[in-house]
């Protein structure tokens, strides 16, 4: 029973609106899970529930055997959840190096340090350089993130998330608004993180080529409820999913 994340009967109401309805799912260690669904299916809300952006109205979220339902976003970061946002959230006027450095320093517990010993600083330097290299931004590390192309900004954001030493990486539409080449770049990066470094990853994504190319398993949300859950082949053959996406055949 190696579940990294287990979601049990989670619902979220906003007034009368039920955004997420009684969703349960399990994500195994080392798995890459994609969450898909038509617009307004509650994917981002579901993501926000997992990451602690707000609390569920009912249900439980178990992270690596530990009940995380009532933990704040910060506490969830500390126990190993890191996320990126649908709209890239970086520190635009700071360099790639500084963006990743802040994440690395906070993770190492230096958020309140007025100075670092030479030894600690070398260790942070090494971590930052290694993370930036991993996402392929070494040559751009001194440039302000806000000046970079969309795909590079996204890569920087992923480097920041990795700096948190997460055990679960949550990516909210990592290729949203990207061109062909950038999508390819980011999909390749996610694939490397999953295959070569065995990160557990949950991915909300619209681009079906990316989803079917990368995912081990796919969960489909529709109108806030879990419609289907299975391997890419099972999902592709699932009639209910086809109807949700294409409308009911007459």
């Amino acid at each position: 029973m190696n579940a990294m994340l287990e979601v049990r009967n989670v619902s979220k109401h906003f007034g009368n609106l039920v955004a997420v309805r009684d969703v349960s799912l399990r994500v195994a260690k080392g798995e890459l899970r994609a969450i898909i669904g038509p617009n307004g299916a509650g994917k981002t809300t579901f993501f926000n529930l997992i990451t602690g952006f707000f609390a569920p109205s009912s249900g439980e979220i178990i992270f690596d055997g530990r009940n995380a339902t009532r933990l704040t976003a910060q506490q969830r970061v500390k126990i190993g959840m890191a996320r990126t946002f649908q709209i890239t959230e970086v520190f635009p006027e700071l360099s790639v190096d500084e963006n990743v450095r802040i994440a690395a320093e906070v993770t190492a517990g230096y958020a309140l340090s007025p100075w670092l010993s030479a030894e600690r600083e070398r260790s942070v330097d090494a971590t930052v350089a290694e993370l930036i290299a991993r996402v392929g931004l070494t040559e751009k590390s001194k440039r302000a993130v806000g000046e970079l192309a969309h795909g590079d900004q996204r890569a920087a954001e992923i480097a920041m998330a990795l700096a948190l030493r997460p055990r679960l990486l949550l990516l909210d539409e990592p290729t949203a608004g990207m061109g062909e080449q950038e999508t390819y770049q980011i999909a390749g990066l996610i694939r490397r993180l999953h295959h070569d470094e065995s990160y557990t990853i949950i991915l909300v994504e619209h681009d079906m080529r990316v989803v079917f190319h990368l995912a081990d398993r796919i969960s489909v949300l529709d109108q806030g409820a879990l419609l289907a859950d299975g391997t890419p082949d099972e999902i592709a053959a699932n009639r209910a999913v086809q109807e949700a996406y294409l409308g009911k055949a007459a």
Binding site: V90, F91, A111, L116, E147
Partner: protein, 328 residues
């Protein structure tokens, strides 16, 4: 495209170049008493500029480097003024003690107020800072027997500092006083600069840049804003204590929100993304005031005019120009 990128160049640029610029700034400041007369200035104007520049830099620690706008920082400046003034008037003619009192009174009030308001943001934060400032102003204004009320606190003078082997006579020598002010300025500005280059300082930049991202990295944003507010208040308290010694007088207007506005204007004019910008802004503000107010009582009109011109043509402040050029 975002216009950003170059803005923290002052904090980032090539190390060698940064040290050259820093050395240049200190040469100019150390030599000021000698070149000021050549441009029809005088030493005590230099002291005033350093003091108000330090105050504006302290405000900018919050505005420019934490992204939180206070329109009430004259409160902690003024408490520094009164803290130093009251020690000199009632306790002992001791400059170090007066300085310490100003720092502790201004900073202590900042710690308390900061704890109450660090959960607010944006315009609410700014409005509450003004409200608290008015409270301190009215206390100084009404408490005649202690603060001198409307007339301010008089009857004290800055005192010579005895170092044992020699005495620095800041009481009678404007030159000695200038270097005393410069030394305090160097320490306080040095502390702020040092902090901004630390991991803690970078968390403040992170909050300025993107609070949501900062929170999702695990930074306790409210707590860091409170610390930044407190540090800024201690620093401006030091500036206030020096101001009491510049004038040998504690004036209730040093607590008034007009001054808070002036400090923000100085910072914006000089460039809020630049560490040294507010000092340049203070210099322009004070020089304009000094020259124009001897010719017309409407000198504020001209300062307003200059401010509007700067904001229209150099929206990133005067030092922002260099940052932009460096990026190009």
């Amino acid at each position: 495209m975002r216009p950003g990128g170059e803005t923290t160049a002052a904090l980032r640029g090539p190390a060698e170049r940064r040290w050259t610029i820093l050395a240049g700034i200190w040469v100019v400041l150390i030599a000021a008493p000698f070149w000021l007369p050549l441009v029809h200035g005088y030493t005590s104007l230099g002291s005033r500029i350093l003091v108000l520049g330090l105050a504006a830099m302290s405000v900018n620690f919050l505005i420019g480097f934490t992204g939180v706008v206070s329109f009430g920082h004259a409160a902690y400046f003024g408490l520094g003024v009164y803290g130093a003034g009251m020690v000199l008037r009632y306790v002992a003619p001791s400059t170090p003690l007066a300085l310490l009192a100003g720092i502790l009174l201004g900073g202590g009030a900042g710690v308390l107020v900061g704890a109450l308001i660090c959960r607010s943001r944006g315009i609410y934060f700014a409005m509450i800072t003004i409200a608290f400032e008015q409270i301190f102003y009215y206390i100084a204004y009404k408490w005649d027997s202690v603060t001198g009320g409307y007339d301010g606190l008089r009857g004290f003078q800055r005192a010579a500092i005895n170092f044992g082997v020699f005495t620095l006579d800041i009481k009678h020598s404007d030159l000695a006083f200038y270097y005393f002010v410069l030394a305090v300025f160097a320490i306080v500005a040095g502390v702020m600069g040092f902090l901004l280059h630390s991991p803690f300082g970078r968390t403040l930049l992170a909050i300025r840049e993107n609070e949501r991202r900062a929170r999702f990295l695990g930074i306790s944003v409210d707590w860091h804003i409170w610390l930044s507010f407190s540090i800024s208040a201690f620093c401006i308290g030091a500036a206030g204590a020096l101001y009491a010694m510049v004038n040998n007088f504690s004036d209730p207007s040093s607590l008034y929100f007009d001054l808070s506005g002036d400090l923000v204007i100085m910072a914006v004019m000089g460039g809020i993304r630049s560490f040294w910008g507010p000092l340049l802004g203070a210099a322009i503000f004070e020089v304009l005031q000094d020259y124009i107010s001897s010719r017309t009582v409407n000198w504020l009109f001209f300062i307003g005019l200059v401010f509007v011109i700067v904001v229209m043509f150099f929206p990133r402040g005067l030092l922002g120009i260099f940052q932009r050029r460096r990026a190009a």
